[in-house]
Amino acid sequence: MAARSGNRRMRWRRGERPSGGVVFAHWRTPALLLVLLCASACHPVRATDADISREQLGEIAMTRQACGSCHRIAGIEGADGTVGPPLDHYARRQMIAGVLPNTPENLARYLKSPRTIVPGNAMPQQRLSDREIQGIVAYLYQQK
């Protein structure tokens, strides 16, 4: 360490200065981190935004409806539940709740009223709007 700093000192004395000065010589990494931090902290979409996609709406609906407390869902923060089945690769699943063939229409039906499709179901009957249901269906069918 001492030898290295000594060398640097010698170079400094000889008039070899790092371009931009010592303090600003390595500014790119922290600056990049700062920009990344700001970008990731800024303004995620809202459900009321006019230009929101169906998938984004589904993502918000699944977060708001706390689906992740029982299901593992790819791409949703904290969705690591171990109560119901994991929902990854949903587009490739064959059956819904073991009783319905997996089609977008059937999934919408099931989400509308899980306890009618499977009586005694632990999955509650949530008051999902049709828009939310279409969003959730779009989000899940994105999971190939």
Partner: protein, 210 residues
Amino acid sequence: MAGLHLRPVIAGWILGVTTCALIALLILGYVMSGRGFRTGADQPHSKLFGWAVHQTMQNSVRLHAPADAPRLPLDRPTLLAGMRLYEQRCIACHGGPGIDRASWASAMLPTPPYLLGSRARWSHAQLYAVIRGGVKMTGMPAWGEVSSDREIAEVVALVEAMPRMTPDQFALLRDEAARGSAAKDPDAVPDATDRIAQSPAHADRRATQP
């Protein structure tokens, strides 16, 4: 000789620390002015921020969970007492097996979770700590401020018994607690809780650990 070369080092240090402090102050000012952070709960957290606060909460709970959290047997009177409290204080935000939350719970940010999986997520002591101490900035009250340790333990018992019941058994227990006559009439609903108490699986694996 050494002092001669130390001087630029100290000067650099002061310059560096001052610059960092200045930048930190600028960021703080930007956030506190309301430009850097929107508090409206209609806008979800960014993934990074949501992840960071969630991790902080989980680590804090793990760190501060008491070693001596009281544990009640999952028997009928305990579960009925726990259910009465759950009905009053918990079910609106957290729902139950097959039971929806209040319609406004999904409008909260962060939104309160369903609790069927919380026994797998948290240890007994951690559940006790969360219920007694609450969670800052989430809407979860510190129930220990307004309840006895026994009441907290009763709710913990109910939450831990939840994944051991069918949703129908949970509904029966709920009815029974609502009638409030369980203590006088133990045969009113014969098996909602008895089956749990008899099941060898109900013994918490963590209970055997020191």
